[in-house]
Each structure stands twice: as C-alpha cells, then as structure tokens.
Symmetry: C2
Subunit: 455 residues, 2 copies
C-alpha cells in the first residue's frame, strides 16, 4: 500500500527554496497554496522560515514523524539525505531530482534503491514530476494544480504529465490522483495501478507508458483494475523511430507495436492515440455505462453532420443498422418530412417535443445498444430545448448509453452545460463523438471478455 505517499499526513520538502522559479520553491508553494491540511516541513539549512512554516536544517531535526519526504536536491547528495530519511523513519520518498539511470548513472540509482530497502522506504522517481491527490489537497509536484475530480492519471513522462495537468486546469477537467513515476527505480506503474484499484475517488484510470519493466505483472494488475474501473492507456514509442526516441529519452527499451497492442488487449486497456482523445474518452467512461453491443442509433436535426457521424462510427467498427419497420411504425408521430431511417432525421425545426418523443421511443428498443443525439441549432431554434428533452428522458432511467453532439458555437454553450451537468457528455465534432461511443462499446466488450475469463 502506498497510502503513506498518496494519503500522507505530514510532508517534508528537502531542498525547499525561497527563490521563486526554483523547483524547490515551486513544489513547496504548490503544497502550501494547495491547502494541504497535514503538517508541512521545509528542509533547508540556509533558511529558518518559508511561507509561514519553520524550516529545519535536516529532516532529522523535524520534531515530529514524517510520512512523506520530497527530495529536490542535486543527485550526488541524494543518498546521504535518503539515509537521514531512513533514520528518521520516513515511509515514502518522492525524488524529483534527475541525474540517475536516465543519464546512464545506474550505480547511483542502485545505491538509493539499496538505502530505501534497508529502511523499508518506498521511492517514487527519481527524475519525476511528483504526485497529486486532489481529494487530500496534496500537491507535491512541480506541475500545475488541476481541479478535483475522478480521473486518475499515471505518467511515465513528467513533461507529458505536466502538459496534461495544464490542459486539465484550463478545461476544468477533474483529476483525482496524478502520479509521475520517472525512472521507477522502486515504485512502478503496476504498484500505482494496484493503489488506484482501491482508491474510491479514482473512477477512471489513465496511464501513459513508454516501456514497462515487468510485462506480466503489468498485464495482471491492469486486468484486475479493468474489472473494477475503466483503464485507458497511451503507449508511446510504438513505431521504429518512436522506439529509438524512447531509447534516447529514458534509456529503456520500448517494445514493438504489435506486442504492446496484444498486451493492451489482454490487459483490458482502452487504447488512445492523443491527449484530446484521452480527455474525451475519460469523460465518456466516467459518466456513461458501457454499451452491451455495437449497434448505434443516431437522432439528428440535420443531414450532413449525421452522415459524417455515420461514416465515423462505421470507421471505428460500430454499426448503424437500418430502422426496423416496427420501430418506424412507432415513430409515425413524426411529420412526413422527417426521415425514419437511421440516422433518424427530425429536420431543422425539431425542438423539445420531437426530440423527447423520438428518444423515448428508441431507448426501449432492443436493436439499439447506444444512442447519439445530434443537434445543429438553426438561428430560430433554442439549442437548450432539445438538450432538455434528452435530459428529461435520461432522468427517467435508461439502460443504454446516450451521448450528445451539439456542434460548435456560442448558441450551444448553454445547451451543453445542461447536458453535461446531467451526465450526458457532449462532443463537438462527428469524429470525436463516434470515438467516444466506440470507447463505451469497447469497454462493454472488455468487461464481457474479462468476466468470461474469470469463470
């Protein structure tokens, strides 16, 4: 259990600095400004006080116990400080400092691993960007503080993790736990996944990996986690040049594309290609249930976007079946100008009533596993009305996923707010919408497969 790291009650920052811009300053500031309710100890022999906290010469001078020590000092003196942590009884250590195996200094890294073992301490890093637990207001990281939420993000790359957190902050995308594990000299991706499996605030887990050290354990841990909550993976270093780039970046060997593809599949990981896709898919998996099959119905008020959406759905392997005659009969309340053929086109002037009655008819149909509702607001229609219709049907209780595609522009902003506050995720383009529905279908397949294998 890594609880003494992610749920630390007291944190020391060894190398805390009073100079803005310095990493030792930024981390300490993040912890203080983040509103951490536990005890905070800056450690720096040259200062006596930092942001209202008494500063200590060494960690051994701290008058109380310390759960977590964050180390931000030059690599060569890390072993000495780590010994002090061990003597002090510290349980978890995050080593931000770089200059270890990633630059070929394997010896120094082995040294710190041995010290940690001697004292039974766990190390996150070295060469990492730190961790975040928003639900504890715990931000020992060099990155920005993201808003509180339910997506956990684990990243082998610190810089990439940082970019993601910035994006999360910008878009008010809620994070539960962030962990940058760097060289993974001790705590690795599998340890963190095991922790997140039990963390109730982490409802969806995302992992960015370049290379995995113990493939079998990674697959086993991922499978277990996938049975409990969705796991999204970004694997970098898939192509030949990408693999070479990983080698010069981390010193570790990234595997071949096919091997990782198979491993991801076995592990129950939903694979994504880029950041924006990662955000979209996290969002949809957080708010909507998995689809039981791949047959999708589309309700729209405009032809063009529905055609593009249909193409995109089929390109992702989803099916857009023809509307059965029986369903068409049930939809006969629609004006003749509407098209009952899936995608079902309610035409431009469709508002609350037409959307609500159509959706109510479709949600109970057995030939449909998921529904996408599209709306492109003509100037004379209030885009909030069809959004309210979707929400009203959804609130009655629905046993299949519903997502929305209210397209761009000022007029739809309020409508999207209504949808998303009621757990109907919205996506601004046909391709993004199709990919989100694909993720729900994929999640359904993964759960089915993993459960069958358990029997």
């Amino acid at each position: 259990m890594l609880d003494f790291i992610f749920n630390a009650k007291s944190v020391a920052v060894i190398g805390a600095s009073d100079r803005p811009g310095k990493i030792g300053f930024e981390i300490f500031r993040n912890i203080v400004e983040g509103g951490f309710q536990g005890k905070i100890y800056p450690i720096n022999p040259k200062i006596t006080e930092l942001m209202g906290h008494t500063c200590y010469r060494t960690i051994k001078d701290v008058p109380d116990t310390v759960d977590l020590a964050v180390i931000v000092i030059p690599a060569p003196i890390v072993p000495e400080v780590l010994e002090q942590c061990g003597e002090k009884g510290v349980k978890g250590v995050i080593i931000i400092s770089a200059g270890f195996s990633e630059v070929g200094n394997v010896e120094l890294e082995n040294k710190i691993v041995n010290i940690a073992k001697k004292y039974g301490m766990r190390i996150v890093g070295p060469n990492c960007a730190g961790i975040v637990n928003t639900h504890q207001n715990l931000f020992p990281t060099i990155e920005v503080r993201p808003p509180k939420g339910f997506i956990a993000f684990v990243s082998q790359s610190g810089a990439l993790g940082g970019a993601i957190l910035m994006k999360a902050k910008e878009e008010q995308f809620g994070i539960s736990i962030f962990a940058s594990y760097g060289n993974a000299c001790d705590v690795n991706e599998s340890d963190i996944l095991e922790y997140l499996m039990e963390d109730e605030n982490s409802k969806v887990v995302v992992i960015y990996i370049e290379a995995v050290k113990n493939g079998r354990r990674f697959i086993e841990t991922s499978r277990k986690l996938s049975l409990k909550k969705p796991l999204i993976g970004i694997k970098a270093g898939k192509t030949e040049a990408g693999t070479r780039a990983v080698a010069s970046h981390t010193g570790s060997l990234a595997g071949q594309e096919k091997i990782y593809e198979a491993a991801f599949k076995q592990a129950g990981i939903i694979s994504v290609e880029d950041f924006d896709e990662m955000f979209d898919i996290s969002k949809v998996l957080l708010h909507q249930p998995p689809a039981k099959g791949d047959k999708i119905a589309i309700i729209t008020n405009s032809g063009g976007p529905a055609v593009m959406l249909t193409d995109a759905c089929e390109a992702f392997g989803l099916k857009i079946p023809s509307t059965p005659e029986e369903t068409k009969k049930k939809l006969s309340f629609l004006p003749p100008v509407c098209s009952l053929e899936n995608p079902i086109d309610l035409v431009a002037d469709a508002s609350y009533e037409r959307y609500r009655k159509t959706l109510e008819t479709l949600v109970v149909e057995n030939w449909i596993d998921g529904i996408i509702v599209v709306h492109v607001p003509p100037v004379w229609i209030d885009a909030r009305e069809p959004a309210k219709a979707v929400v009203d049907v959804y609130k009655q209780g629905v046993n299949k996923p519903i997502i929305a595609c209210w397209m761009a522009g000022e007029p739809v902003k309020e409508a999207i707010k209504i949808l998303e506050e009621n757990n109907i995720p919205n996506f601004p383009t046909p391709r993004k919408t199709a990919k989100a529905m694909w993720a729900l279908v994929e999640r359904g397949k993964i759960l089915k497969r993993l459960k069958e294998q358990q029997l």
Copy 2:
C-alpha cells in the same frame, strides 16, 4: 462567372420579414448588420420599411437594377417570383427555400431551372444556407457571420456549413467566401470552385461534399484549382451506412469509398476526416509552404511528447530519420545532457539560445524537409523565449516548413500568439501537429504530381 453573386453590388431579399427568428428576418439582418456597402432592397408586400430600408411589394417595384435576389418564401410560389426576377433583369438568385428535389419534388425544381435558363439567371440552391463574401461585407446567409480571412468554404450541407461558420466565429478563424449550394439545381460545386480559383482573397479552399453530379468536371476543376492553391476535401457518405444516410438526406447517391478516394487523389484534394482537422490543415496550408519531401526533424525540450509525436508522424507516413554524424558534429555546442538523435532533445531547461542555435543549424540541412519544434514549459522557463527563437530564425528566411507544438495551458498562450502572428502555426497535441506536417508533405506531393502531369 459568378461575380454578380459573390460580388453583387445590389441585393434584394424576397420574403424579408420583420419578425425576429424568421429566416426572412435573419438573412436581412445579416446583410444589414454585416455592413454591406451596396444597395439593399427588402421585398415584402405587407411592410413598407425594414431596418431603415424601403420595402417593396415585388422585385419589379424596385426603382434600380438588382444583381442578386435572395428568395426566402414557400417553395410553391418560388416559380412566380423567379419569373419576376427574370423580367427585372436579376442576374443571380439564391434560393434558401426547401421543398424541392430533396423531398422528391423534382418537377418543381425542373420548373425553376427552366425559368432561370429562359432569362439567363444563375441559381444557387434551392434548399441552401446562402453565401458569404467577407471581403465585400456580403452576408446573404441564415448562418452566423464569420471573421474576414483567406479560407474559402464550400458546403453541400447547409447545417454543416453553419456549424463550421459558428466554430470559425468562436475561434476567430478567418473566412473569405462561404457557399452553401444545397440541391445544386444550377450552380454546382464545380462552378463555385472555378470561381474560387480566380478569387485572390481565397488562398485555401475547403469543400464538403456528399455526392457529386458530374464527376469528370469536378476532378478537372479541382486539378486546375489545386495547381494554384491548396484544396481540402471532406467527403461524407463513404461507408455503407453513410451512403444510405446521404440517400435519405439529399436524395442523391453517394459513391463507394474507394471510388471517391481515387477521385480525390486524381483531383489533388487533401482529404480530411473531421472539422477540427479541417481547421488545423487550412491553417497550416495558409501559412507554411509545402514540404519537398517526407523527412522531418523534431526539436524538443521533453522526451515524452516527442516520442508521441514521432509515433504520430510515422503513423501518417512521415519519416523521422536518424541525425547524420555530420549534423551531430555541428550540434556539438549543445550540453552533453542533450540528445542529438532525432528527435533532438534540448532537455527541460532549454530556452532562447539553445532553441535558436539548434534551429539555425537544422534549417540548412539537406536531409530535412520540414521541422517541428516542441516546447513543454517547465515552471521556471518563460515559454515565450523559445517561441522568439523560432520566429527569429524563421524571419531570416527559411526554405522548408516549420510548425510548432507548444502544449496546453495558460503559460503557453502568449508564446503561441508570438508564433502565430509570425506565421508559425501551433498545434496543441502531438497527433494534430503530425497531421498538420503530413498535410504540408501531402501538398508537396500533389503539386509535384500535378506539375509532372502537365508536361
């Protein structure tokens, strides 16, 4: 020539209305509020004045000549009004009204085509969303008014065109001409492309099509246009279900995926899949020259994002070659912690100097056809500094495309402004960046192929 439509000096709106929310009101308002400098004539027998303009009973009562008439009245009375337009000597007509061939009323559509022929008028529509020429402040459209710029957008689907214009307005993405051509009973996609070929304000052309009526002419026109300026295409209705969706939407037959793929290739069209991609690729083709080959160098300050970018580039068929020994020698001014292997990693603390000297070295290297510069700002580095370095090198004159990937977040906003104001387009994720460079490589290939075929 369609100059009397896109460059009309006088516009009448037949069916102009004084009731907000009505299409006849919204179009008239768009023309007036858009700041059109020519003459504006509302036509409506029930009112005498609209937004300060004298209203006429019929177009024949207008005391002056009329270049363009916009028709917004119920379909059954369109023929009668069209006769009046012909008698008045109107040259171009935009029929917004629906209720023609798209709902099976082929007879009515033939009737209006014959009337137009009799008088030598050209018709855009029916069942369309109108047109825009920002450089003439001409907005006879039911859609929002986009900002002025240099991208032309031609759309068979009005709703989709509307969604694109809303997005353009939201993101301050400049449009030159917009044309929604609906049923294309007379003016079709090829006519509009021919017009755009000569329009100097349209530097990049985007076309959304579901089905083309005269394939040979479309290919020929597109080829000619592609030789002069980049042409981007979105083809909807590619898959089986997508084709069915087009059939029930427009009544026209969308072709099979492979046939359109071949046609697009022959036509020199750069194919895109979704709206955001369309915006990205328009932007990059507007500001950067085509690449002469597919070999790309990446300069970065962080490993992870560069690895993802490398993967994405290779997935799009680009090459990330190893850095030749000779180039590595030229880069020996870099600190030993940097990686000279492509992607060239300047490590986290790289700022102005390291970026500038590396870029200066690479821009003259013959093994490179295009350069991508990546920056993920650590808290202690001002993201504007490396942006200035890129701009300074670019301003010296560079013979290959350079694009940027300053990733997410508040800290990079100012930096991106510096880049984009100097024609270095920036993309926020590795995949988007790779796709943009792919478009420059693709554009280079298309130009080479079209020129060879001309010989």
